[in-house]
Symmetry: C2
Subunit: 224 residues, 2 copies
DNA sequence: TCAAAAGTGTTGACGGTACACCCATGT
DNA sequence: ACATGGGTGTACCGTCAACACTTTTGA
């Protein structure tokens, strides 16, 4: 029996040096939509699971590897691909952009980071998929500690706060934010401070995933 | 290029007369898993979107039509179907079971309601899918007014409270529950009372979806 | 010495939780 | 008259939001 073809697509988010939220796009070489920007993705092979396919396509098309990859939604309207019936399982990923900037910028495959607020027109229904991913990110960052995936392993509380402010689009009170976050006991203060800044150096912290899982089991729920 | 075949499956929830949470299953006629219980579902046609396919399969296999149908997750491990590579887009649905009891029970296709706490062994990975659906229902019922989909159009506050107690698995204080729910201004008290009960007749209410959408736009968020 | 961000406590308002008794109805 | 669930108000406590000044560092 004939059923639709199946692809995966990835909405990859990163924070740039200026704390701006970015999405990773590739420029299509082939028709349809040759020359247009699109989400990285492609057909699912018969011998790989969906998330393996998503990671493979992301690696092949952009060189990016990510720790955090989660299924977003499956898009399956009849006319979303002019080549015929293609259903796509969309994923979203969070990466520490500093690790990837150079690779993506110099990449022969022409992958680039775009500010979420200034995405170019996208191929297929990828514009809608990206918006959906952003919506999910905004919702999920409030009740799961996934923001840390966008930061380097060692970060300051101000970096974390700016991350929340950018993604949620709202200012947050510094003292209250610090109290809330530190009270959760999820961050480990390191024996290091920020260096090379023209002001008082900030304490560096590390997120403790093990601690989070432990707290989760005892009924704790993350809330920002 | 060969890609996986695509099916849809539905986890349909209903509340029975004794306020027990039930799931609708069908008994398979064909191999693989002939004779085993399974979620209603089947292959996606080339000319129908995913949610249309889900509704069609549900209707064909059980006679049930539902107002509330939402995508759950797409399951795509390589070995989940012995026939070959099959990816399934799972949906969950909520129905007012009283409307469907007779149909399903007398249905030639052998569809039956099972208590969520006593599901038989299911075909494929349908057991895991059903559990995932239950988890989603438990989470979502707290922050979106979807519980009403499980009740008749006219219901009492006690019915609603029992619904929450059964699904969340916790007792709720009657006075606080009523205050919270009524304060939201989502329920319309009707000019009718419960009849035929051996105690004081309860006020009947109707959920106002229009009102909810209106409140949503002004930033209101449902919380129970 | 100046600029720029780090760091730190208290108070008041509000919302949530705990809790017990009388009422209406059918048998 | 009795059994069964329907319906109602208050007081306390804890949590969250608002808010401003001192400290450290490099230029």
């Amino acid at each position: 029996m004939a059923t639709p073809q199946l692809t995966v697509d990835c909405v990859v988010f990163g924070l740039d040096e200026a704390d701006q939220l970015k999405v990773l796009l590739i420029q299509r070489k082939l028709e349809p939509f040759a020359g247009a920007w699109a989400l990285p993705g492609g057909f699912v092979h018969l011998d790989e699971s969906l998330d393996v396919a998503a990671r493979r396509e992301l690696q092949e098309e952009t060189g990016v590897e990510t720790h955090f990859l989660e299924q977003l939604y499956t898009f399956g309207t009849v006319d979303r691909d002019p080549r015929g019936r293609v259903v796509t399982v969309a994923y979203y990923a969070l990466v520490n952009l500093r690790d990837h900037t150079v690779q993506a910028a110099t990449d022969a495959r022409d992958a680039r980071w775009f500010a979420v607020s200034h995405l170019p027109p996208l191929a297929f229904d990828h514009g809608a998929i990206a918006q959906y991913g952003l919506q999910r990110l905004r919702a999920k960052i409030r009740y799961e500690p996934i923001g840390f995936e966008l930061l380097p392993p060692k970060f300051t509380l101000s970096q974390l706060q700016r991350l929340y402010e950018v993604i949620l689009g709202a200012e947050i009170d510094k003292r209250n934010f610090r109290k809330r976050i530190l009270k959760m006991d999820l961050l480990q203060p390191l024996d290091e401070k920020q260096t090379g800044v023209a002001h008082r150096a900030a304490q560096l912290y590390r997120f403790q995933p093990e601690r989070y899982r432990q707290l989760q089991r005892s009924g704790f729920s993350f809330e920002v």
